[in-house]
């Protein structure tokens, strides 16, 4: 479990007058469960990219426990993400030509040798999320199943935090609910801090805390007064 603290974060893009994201002070304790909402273009994905190290941060600090990910070079950020952050994206980003099982273990396999316990854990996770045929080719799965495989992949290395950017936006209502359920349940079981970007009121309801972004700033925080 990891805690998050953000200080004086500012993300700017060329051609934009105002920063796409500006957060003065924000903290999420280890094991916290956060929903991020906001209109389209309000900076939600930019926030996800910053805290997961997918995008370089030029000003401010983003601390996961004691590690300031903003200060790390890109290679070290990739390594930190591989070790500590489980990522679930809106487009599942699974790899066709491989089976469900192979997709789950891919990040490990491409980084080092897959150890026995990891393979067993992958099989266990696939079983937990309800994939009965781990050897099924990924492109023949239903969309709901695909996103569930992506969740299993995110959790394989026991990350301290699970970050999901609109994980249900590409799914229909019912499938989306199932996937959201799964994410919340597994994050709790795996004892991971959880951050979910979502528009779904039902999902927000089930998480402990909710922030709303507007124009790159936190304009509402269910935990108290929004800081600027």
């Amino acid at each position: 479990m990891l805690s998050l603290s953000i200080r004086d974060l500012e993300m700017r893009f060329p051609g934009l007058e105002t920063p796409a994201l500006a957060i003065g002070n924000f903290a999420l304790p280890a094991g916290g469960r956060l929903a991020v909402t906001g209109a389209s273009g309000s900076g939600k994905s930019t926030l996800v990219n910053a805290i997961t190290g997918l995008e370089r941060v030029k000003s401010g600090a983003i601390r996961w426990d004691e590690t300031d990910i903003a200060g790390l070079p890109s290679g070290r950020r990739d390594a930190f993400r591989a070790r500590h952050i489980g990522l679930v994206m809106q487009d599942f980003h699974l790899f066709p030509g491989l089976s469900a099982f192979e997709n789950v273990v891919l990040p490990v396999r491409l980084a080092r040798r897959l150890a026995r316990p990891e393979a067993e854990r992958a099989a266990m996770l696939l079983d937990t999320i309800g994939i009965r045929r781990p050897q099924q080719a990924i492109e023949t799965l239903s969309r709901g199943e695909m996103q569930r495989v992506a969740v299993a992949r995110a959790l394989l290395s026991r990350p301290g935090v699970l970050v999901a950017d609109e994980p249900t936006a590409n799914l229909d209502r019912r499938t989306g609910d199932e996937v959201a359920d799964l994410i919340i349940r597994l994050a709790a079981e795996e004892k991971a801090t959880l951050i979910v970007v979502t528009h779904d009121p039902q999902v927000m309801e089930r998480l402990d805390r909710r922030i709303r972004l507007s124009g790159g700033r936190i304009d509402e925080d269910s935990a108290g007064t929004p800081q600027t």
Binding site: E55, G75, A82, P96, R109, L110
Partner: protein, 422 residues
């Protein structure tokens, strides 16, 4: 890793196939040029090494060599028969064998010569015995005629509109062992039979000598100038030559020592005769051929460069289209080195497959070309790789390895978030 690469290649199999075929073609081109040039050079050097010295009438060294080594049907000028007698009597000469070209049978050259040459080409006959009578013939190893067959020689060749000599039919008495030279396709007959058939023997006055001076055995010779003599096929051969012999196009000479060879060549280079080392003439010829090879090879390498550039372009575009995939790999925290290995490995695998196909295809093509040429000339052309090919192959391999690295490095330039948005 390899599973991932293969899964990816399967997804883009049409493109991958195109890349492999392109590379295979250009590599095959290089391979064929290199191997074929070597095959021709080695093959004809081996064909030439049987004779140390060729003496003919003054004229073209190249033509004399090509006729003597490859039995190429070309009109050669004649030199006085006395040259043969003089050479045969020379103490520095191990043997001197006359050759008379001009006739053919079923497309195979009929060459008039002596039993000395047969003994030199094939010390042990594969079948039968050498000729002992004017009407007998010995076959090269690859002339597809049975022993005892009758051969009706044709003046010139069928293609050049020659006519058949009806006066004489040779009977096959023997067959030589394979030599790997043009002589494998030759029909060897007694030189005196050729002379008599063309009405040249026993008619030594100045006028006749002159009449036959330049064109005696030519196929396009007009009928009016052409007298046919009568040959008694049962007459025993006589291989003692004196100064009264008719003209002949070439004498193959085996000098006793190397020093003798040089001295003889010196002596017979004159107004009326020409002496050449066929090996030397061929070497000079191949120097030109070598230049040709360099040119062809430069063209082949040039094509290769263009192909590589095209492939590079394709892969950079391909990587562009795959930016999302690479972004996803990086989002999953996969180390950059693994991504480089994947992108590089995938390309290099295609390069390697293309190169392997190209080299084996080129080798097969060179073998085929050699086989076709051998079928026509009987000169064995050995297709073989040599140590000299290694630097070129390694160079191409290294270039391919470096070129495949480019798209991988391009792919890593942007941040994962940027790549995912692509």
């Amino acid at each position: 890793m390899i599973r991932f690469i293969l899964a990816d290649i399967r997804r883009f199999r049409a493109g991958a196939l195109a890349v492999v075929v392109l590379i295979a073609l250009s590599v095959a081109l290089c391979t064929v040029v290199t191997l074929q040039e070597r095959a021709v050079r080695l093959g004809s050097a081996r064909a030439a090494e049987k004779f140390d010295l060729v003496v003919g009438a003054a004229g073209s060294e190249t033509q004399l060599t090509l006729s003597a080594v490859f039995l190429q049907p070309a009109p050669l000028p004649l030199m006085p028969g006395a040259v043969l007698a003089k050479l045969a009597a020379d103490p520095r000469v191990a043997f001197a064998a006359p050759v008379g070209f001009g006739d053919s049978a079923s497309g195979f050259p009929v060459v008039g010569t002596t039993t000395t040459l047969i003994a030199s080409l094939s010390p042990q006959l594969a079948e039968g015995r050498a000729f002992a009578r004017l009407g007998e013939a010995v076959l090269g190893a690859e002339v597809p005629m049975p022993g005892g067959a009758e051969i009706k020689p044709m003046h010139g060749t069928a293609e050049t509109g020659g006519h058949t000599h009806t006066e004489l039919a040779y009977t096959v008495t023997g067959r030589m062992a394979p030599t790997g030279t043009a002589w494998d396709r030759a029909i060897l007959v007694p030189i005196r039979a050729v002379w008599q058939l063309h009405g040249m023997e026993g008619d030594h006055d100045e006028h006749d000598e002159h009449d036959h001076g330049d064109h005696a055995f030519e196929a396009d010779e007009s009928e009016a100038h052409h007298e046919h003599g009568h040959v008694d096929p049962a007459a025993p051969i006589d291989e003692r030559f004196d100064a009264d012999m008719p003209g002949l196009p070439a004498v193959l000479v085996k000098p006793k020592t190397i020093a003798d060879a040089y001295r003889l060549r010196q002596e017979y280079r004159g107004e009326t005769t020409l002496a050449v080392f066929p090996g030397e003439v061929l070497t000079r010829l191949y120097a030109t051929l070598g230049d040709m090879r360099s040119l062809l090879l430069a063209i082949a390498v040039g094509t290769q460069a263009i192909v590589v550039a095209a492939i590079l372009l394709v892969t950079i575009m391909h990587v562009g289209a795959r930016r999302r995939q690479i972004g996803a790999l990086r989002a999953l925290g996969i180390p950059k080195r693994s991504i480089v290995v994947i992108v590089w490995g995938e390309l290099f695998l295609l390069f390697a497959a293309g190169a392997a196909l190209g080299i084996s295809g080129g080798y097969a093509a060179a073998r085929l070309i050699s086989a076709l040429l051998t079928a026509r000339t009987a000169v064995r052309l050995p297709v073989e790789f040599s140590a000299a090919d290694l630097p070129l192959a390694l160079g191409i391999g290294l270039a391919a390895a470096l070129v495949s690295l480019v798209p991988a490095l391009v792919a890593l330039r942007s941040s994962p978030a940027e790549a995912l948005r692509a």
